[in-house]
Amino acid sequence: MRAKVLGAGVAGLCVAAELVARGCEVTVFDPAPRPGPHGCSWWAGGMLAPFCEGETAEEPVVRLGREAVDWWQRQGVRVERHGTIVLTLGRDRRELDRFARRVEGHAALDAAGLAALEPDLGGRFDRALHVAAEAHLDPRVALLHLRDRLEREGVAFVEGPGPAGGPTFDCRGLAARDSLPDLRGVKGEMAVLRSPDIRLARPVRLLHPRFPLYVVPRADGHFMLGATQIESDDRRRSVRSVLELLSAAYALHPAFGEAELVEIGVDARPAFPDNLPRLRRRGETIHVNGLFRHGFLLAPALARMAVEAACDHTTPELMDEDHD
C-alpha cells in the first residue's frame, strides 16, 4: 500500500512507523516537516505515565498507554524506566491519599524510601508514592530520532499540505479543525530549567489543589516543568502561569530558585469533548487526533489501531465514522 501521512508530529511519525513496519510506501506531508517549536509535540513532557494519568483520564488512556514504553524502546528511542514519584507539600497531604485511592500500580514510600530513590528529595518529604511501571523520554530527542530513522528507511518528508485522494492518515493535530469541528485547543504552558544542583532520576509529580506540577529530568541538568491546562487555544505565555510553575518548582526544591530559566513554552493540545483520542474514518482518510495531554503516551496505540483499521479492515475502539 502507498499511504500519505499528514502531519509530522508525534501522531504522524508513529503512524508512519507502523506503516513502514507493514511494508507500506509512506510520504509524510507537513508545512514544516522537521520536528520543532511549531508543533505541539515539541512542548510535551515525555512522561509515559498511564497510571498517574488515570487520576483524571478515562480507562482507555490507562490501558492503551501501557503499550507506549515498549513501543518507544523498540523504535530505538532511549526510555528511562525508573517510574514516577508523587508528592505533596505538608499541608496538602490528604491529596496524596486521594491520589492513592484513584490510581493503581503505586507503592507507598516513607522518608527513607524516598531518599533511597531520589537522594535530593530526602529529608524534604516524609511520604510519597512510587509508580514503578512508568517511564519517561525526551520528546524532542524521540521525535528527531524517529524522523531520521524513517527517512533512512525510505519515508519521504515533503513540505506542504499534501495532495488530496488516496489512503491518507490525517495527523495534523489542532490544524485539522478545518474538518473536525468538535476538536478544541487546551492550552499548556511549560518551562525548561537548568540546575547543576539537583539530580532526579525520574519524573516527580507535585499534587497541589491549585498549582499541580510535574518535573521531568532531561539530559545535562535540564528539567522540564509542566504544565498548565487552560480551556483556550491562545498561545500567549502568561506571567501568572509561569509564576505558578516556578513557585511550585521552588516549593518542591529551593535549589530550583537558583536554576537557569532556559525556556518558556506554550502550545494548544488538540482535544475532543471527552478528552479521549479518536480515529475517525472518512472515506479513504483516517483521522488520528485528539491526543490531548497524552501524545507520547497514546500515539503508539492509536497508530497501531489506525494502521490495523486500514490494512486489516478492523474497526478498533475509539474509531468512529462520519461523512462530509
Binding site: 485511592r101 491549585r210 483556550s232 491562545d234
Partner: protein
C-alpha cells in the same frame, strides 16, 4: 426561585472548572439538573476569544450562564472582566469576585462594594461573592445588589458551613433577599443544611468536579438540595432536650 426577575427552576448551581473533560462536565450538569452554570472569563480570555471552543460546549448545556470574575484581585480587574463577560456571553449577570487574600481567597470587602456599585450603575445584575458579614451585606445591597452569595467556607476547601451563627444572622437580617451559599461546600449534607437554614440555593464546583465520579456527586447534591428545601418549607420541629415519644405511652405495658 427568582433572581433579578428571572425564574430559576433549580436551587443548585454548578461551576464549570476543573472537570476531567467537557464531556464529564456535561454529564454532571445532566445528572444535577442545575439551572445555572458559572463560567470563568479571565484566564481563558486570551486575545480574540481564544476560549470560544470551551464556551460553546458550556452554552450547549442549555442552562443560564453566570460569568464570574474569578481570580480578580482589584476593582479595576473585576470591572474590566465583567465588561468583557457581558460582551462574550451577552448577559448583564455577573458573579462578582474581588479576591482580598491570595491564600484563603477570601473576598476583599472594600473592593467588592466599590466594584458592585460601579457595575450596578453600569447596568449589571451583580451576584457578589461575599462573607457572612451583615454590615458588608448591607453595603452591597445599598450598592445595587439584589442577590447575595455568602461563602460557606473558603473556595475549594470543602469545609462546609463554618460559621453557622453568622450565616443564620445574615439570613435573618435580610429575609427577602435571595441568598446563595457560594464556595466551601464539600458534601451534599452541607448543601442540605444550607437549604434547611433558609438559603435559597447553593453554588459549588470543586466538590463535584474533583470527585471520583463527578456526575454521581452532582446527583447527590441535587437530591440534598431538594431535601433541604423541602425541609425548610415544611417548617421543621424545634430541637429539644427532653425525649418526647411519638407514640403515646399511656396504656402500654411500659412497666412490665
Amino acid at each position: 426561585m427568582q433572581l433579578y426577575g428571572t425564574e430559576i427552576a433549580s436551587r443548585l448551581m454548578l461551576g464549570t472548572a476543573q472537570y476531567p473533560s467537557p464531556h464529564v462536565l456535561a454529564e454532571a450538569f445532566r445528572r444535577s439538573g442545575a439551572g445555572i452554570a458559572t463560567v470563568s472569563v479571565r484566564r481563558e480570555a486570551g486575545g480574540e476569544r481564544a476560549g470560544a471552543a470551551f464556551w460553546d460546549l458550556v452554552r450547549e448545556l442549555g442552562v443560564a450562564l453566570l460569568p464570574n470574575t474569578a481570580g480578580c484581585h482589584s476593582v479595576r480587574e473585576a470591572v474590566t472582566t465583567a465588561q468583557m463577560a457581558r460582551e462574550l456571553f451577552d448577559t448583564n449577570w455577573i458573579k462578582l469576585e474581588v479576591i482580598g487574600h491570595a491564600d484563603t481567597l477570601q473576598p476583599d470587602p472594600f473592593g467588592l462594594v466599590e466594584a458592585a456599585r460601579i457595575l450596578s450603575e453600569d447596568g449589571f445584575r451583580v451576584f457578589p461573592y461575599t462573607t457572612e458579614d451583615v454590615v458588608l451585606a448591607e453595603r452591597l445591597l445599598a450598592a445595587g445588589c439584589e442577590v447575595l452569595m455568602p461563602w460557606g467556607a473558603p473556595i475549594g476547601t470543602g469545609l462546609g458551613l463554618t460559621n453557622i451563627y453568622g450565616l443564620r444572622t445574615l439570613r435573618a437580617q435580610f429575609p427577602e433577599v435571595p441568598m446563595v451559599i457560594d464556595a466551601g461546600l464539600g458534601l451534599p449534607s452541607q448543601a442540605a443544611m444550607a437549604l434547611e437554614m433558609g438559603f435559597d440555593a447553593v453554588l459549588l464546583n470543586t466538590a463535584v468536579a474533583k470527585a471520583g465520579d463527578p456526575a454521581g456527586m452532582a446527583e447527590g447534591f441535587a437530591r440534598a438540595v431538594e431535601a433541604g428545601r423541602l425541609a425548610f418549607e415544611a417548617d421543621p420541629m424545634e430541637p429539644r432536650e427532653m425525649a418526647a415519644p411519638s407514640t403515646p405511652v399511656i396504656g402500654k405495658a411500659f412497666l412490665a
